[in-house]
C-alpha cells in the first residue's frame, strides 16, 4: 500500500489505519463521531495527500480540458475551481474531479486517489491537442481544514485577510506558516473550509503548524471514517460507490455539471440522447431509514415485492441521529422503499439531499 508524507505523523497520533484506493490512510484518531462533530462544530484537520494532481498546460491545454470535461471549463477565470466529470464515449463516469485554472492554457486536475493512473492515461490518450500533461501526485501533499473555525485557523498563518477573502471555489497561491501553498476554498464536508496544496516535503511542517492551532480552536485531526459520514450528510457522491463507469452523470443526479451547450466533449452524444429521451437506466436518490437498522453499501432496495436497486452508500448520520444513504434505483420508483438488511425488510423514505 502507498503512504502519504504524513504517515509517521498519523502513527504518532495513534491513528487507526484503513486501506482506501490502494493507500494506507488514517481511518480515525479518536472516534468517528467525535471527529465528525468537531468538523460540524469547530474545525477538523485532514490529510488528503492520497488525492492525485495532474497538470495540463501549454498550447492545446484549453482544448484538451474542454474535450475531457462535461462542465464548461471556458467559464473559469484565473484562480477559479470547478467541479466536473470526466466521461467515456458511452457517457459513463471515468472520474469526478476538481479542475483548477491557474491561467489561460494552465490547469490542474485533482482526481480521486484510486483513479490516478487511470485518469493520467485517459488524459494522455486524448491529448491530440499536444498539451503538456504531467502527474505531480507524488510531489504534492494536500491538507484540508474544514469547519466553522477553519477561517480563524488559517487567518493565523496567512498574510493580510486572505483567509477571509478567498471565495467559495476560488484559490490563490500564498504562504501559510511560511510555506508556499495553493489555498483553495473547497471541501468535501458541507462546511466552510480550505484545501491546502503544498510540496510533499513541506507537508509535515504545515501539518504541525495547523495542528496546534486546530487544537486551540477546539478541533482535532479527522480520518477517512468521518470524512465519509460528513460527505454523505452533505449529499456529496463518492466515486466507486455512488457512481462508476457504468453510471452516467444524469443517472448519478449530477446533470447540472454537464453543459450540453458548450461544444463537443467526450460522451456528449450519449448524454444528449439520454437527456432528450429521458431514458435513464437508474437514478441516484437519498434515503432515510425509518428504523434503527443501518443500511450499507450493496444492500438490496425493494418496492412492492420487487428488488428495484441497491444501496450505494449508507451510514448512521452523527449530526441527524438517524440512518441515511444513497441508493441507485429504477427511475420510476416511488417515495416509500424498503431495504433488506440481513434477510429482513426495513422501511425507508426517499428524501432530498443534502441531508443537512
Amino acid at each position: 500500500m502507498k503512504r502519504t508524507p504524513l504517515y509517521e505523523v498519523h502513527k504518532s497520533l495513534y491513528a487507526k489505519f484503513t486501506e482506501f484506493g490502494g493507500w494506507e490512510m488514517p481511518l480515525q484518531y479518536t472516534s468517528i463521531v467525535k471527529e465528525h462533530l468537531a468538523v460540524r462544530e469547530t474545525v477538523g484537520l485532514f490529510d488528503l495527500s492520497h488525492m492525485g494532481e495532474i497538470d495540463v498546460e501549454g498550447q492545446g491545454a484549453n482544448e484538451l480540458v474542454q474535450k475531457l470535461c462535461t462542465n464548461d471549463v471556458s467559464r473559469l477565470t484565473d484562480g477559479q475551481v470547478q467541479y466536473t466529470l470526466l466521461c467515456n464515449e458511452a457517457g459513463g463516469i471515468v472520474d469526478d474531479i476538481l479542475i483548477y485554472r491557474h491561467a489561460d492554457n494552465d490547469y490542474t486536475l485533482v482526481v480521486n486517489a484510486a483513479n490516478i493512473e487511470k485518469d493520467f492515461a485517459w488524459v494522455k490518450t486524448h491529448n491530440d491537442a499536444d498539451a503538456e500533461v504531467s502527474d505531480t501526485s507524488d510531489d504534492t501533499a494536500l491538507i484540508a481544514l474544514q469547519g466553522p473555525r477553519a477561517m480563524d485557523v488559517l487567518y493565523r498563518f496567512t498574510p493580510e485577510n486572505l483567509a477571509y477573502e478567498i471565495k467559495f471555489f476560488q484559490f490563490g497561491v500564498s504562504r501559510v506558516a511560511g510555506i508556499s501553498t495553493a489555498i483553495s476554498r473547497t471541501g468535501y464536508t458541507g462546511e466552510i473550509g480550505f484545501e491546502l496544496y503544498v510540496e510533499a516535503s513541506d507537508a509535515e511542517n504545515l501539518w504541525e503548524a495547523l495542528y496546534l492551532a486546530v487544537k486551540e480552536e477546539g478541533g482535532q485531526p479527522v480520518g477517512l471514517g468521518a470524512r465519509d459520514t460528513l460527505r454523505l450528510e452533505a449529499g456529496l457522491r463518492l466515486y466507486g460507490m455512488d457512481m462508476d463507469e457504468n453510471t452516467t452523470p444524469l443517472e448519478a443526479g449530477l446533470g447540472r455539471f454537464v453543459k450540453l451547450d458548450k461544444g463537443d466533449f467526450i460522451g456528449k452524444d450519449v448524454l444528449l440522447a439520454q437527456k432528450e429521451k429521458g431514458d435513464l437506466k437508474k437514478k441516484l436518490v437519498g434515503f432515510q431509514m425509518l428504523d434503527r437498522a443501518v443500511a450499507r453499501c450493496g444492500y438490496d432496495v425493494h418496492q412492492d415485492g420487487n428488488v428495484v436497486g441497491k444501496v450505494t452508500s449508507g451510514a448512521p448520520s452523527p449530526s441527524l441521529n438517524c440512518n441515511i444513504g444513497f441508493a441507485s434505483i429504477s427511475p420510476n420508483t416511488g417515495k416509500s422503499i424498503e431495504i433488506e438488511i440481513r434477510g429482513k425488510l426495513y422501511p425507508a423514505k426517499i428524501v432530498k439531499v443534502p441531508f443537512i
Binding site: I32, P316, R342
Partner: protein, 128 residues
C-alpha cells in the same frame, strides 16, 4: 482491565456464569475496536442459541459486526435498554452494556472458553 471472574470467547464475547444462567456481553477490547456503537440487534426471549453460532449484530458508524454465542442455551432475558442507548456497550461493556442472559444447556462448554489471563494473551497476540 480484564475481569478475572468471567470467561471469554475468541470472538470477544464474555460470559458470566451463575449456576446454569450465563450473562453475555462483549469485552472492553472489542468495544474499543468497534467504537461508536449505534445499534445492537439481539434475539428475542425464548430463542435457542447454539455455541459458536451467530446470535446478533452490532452496528458501529463504520460497519456491522456479528456476535457469536459462547455457550448454548435459551435466551431468558434481553437488555432492552440497549435499543435506545446502544452507547452503553461502549461506556460500560461489562456492566450496563450486557446483552443477554441465557439458560445454559451444557455448562461443560464453559471449559473450552478462555480465562482472563489466556484472553489477555490472545488479544495481545491479535494486536501484535
Amino acid at each position: 482491565m480484564i475481569p478475572q471472574d468471567l470467561k471469554y470467547n475468541e470472538s470477544h464475547e464474555w460470559v458470566k456464569p451463575e449456576d446454569d444462567i450465563a450473562t453475555i456481553g462483549i469485552t472492553d477490547y472489542a468495544q474499543s475496536e468497534i467504537q461508536d456503537i449505534v445499534y445492537v440487534e439481539l434475539p428475542e426471549v425464548g430463542t435457542h442459541l447454539t455455541h459458536k453460532t451467530e446470535f446478533g449484530v452490532i452496528e458501529s458508524v463504520k460497519a456491522a459486526f456479528d456476535l457469536y454465542a459462547p455457550v448454548s442455551g435459551e435466551v431468558i432475558e434481553v437488555n432492552e435498554s440497549l435499543l435506545d442507548t446502544p452507547e452503553q456497550v461502549n461506556e460500560s461493556p461489562y456492566d450496563d452494556g450486557w446483552f443477554l442472559k441465557i439458560k445454559m444447556t451444557d455448562s461443560s462448554e464453559l471449559d473450552a472458553l478462555l480465562d482472563a489471563d489466556s484472553y489477555q494473551a490472545y488479544i495481545e497476540a491479535e494486536h501484535a
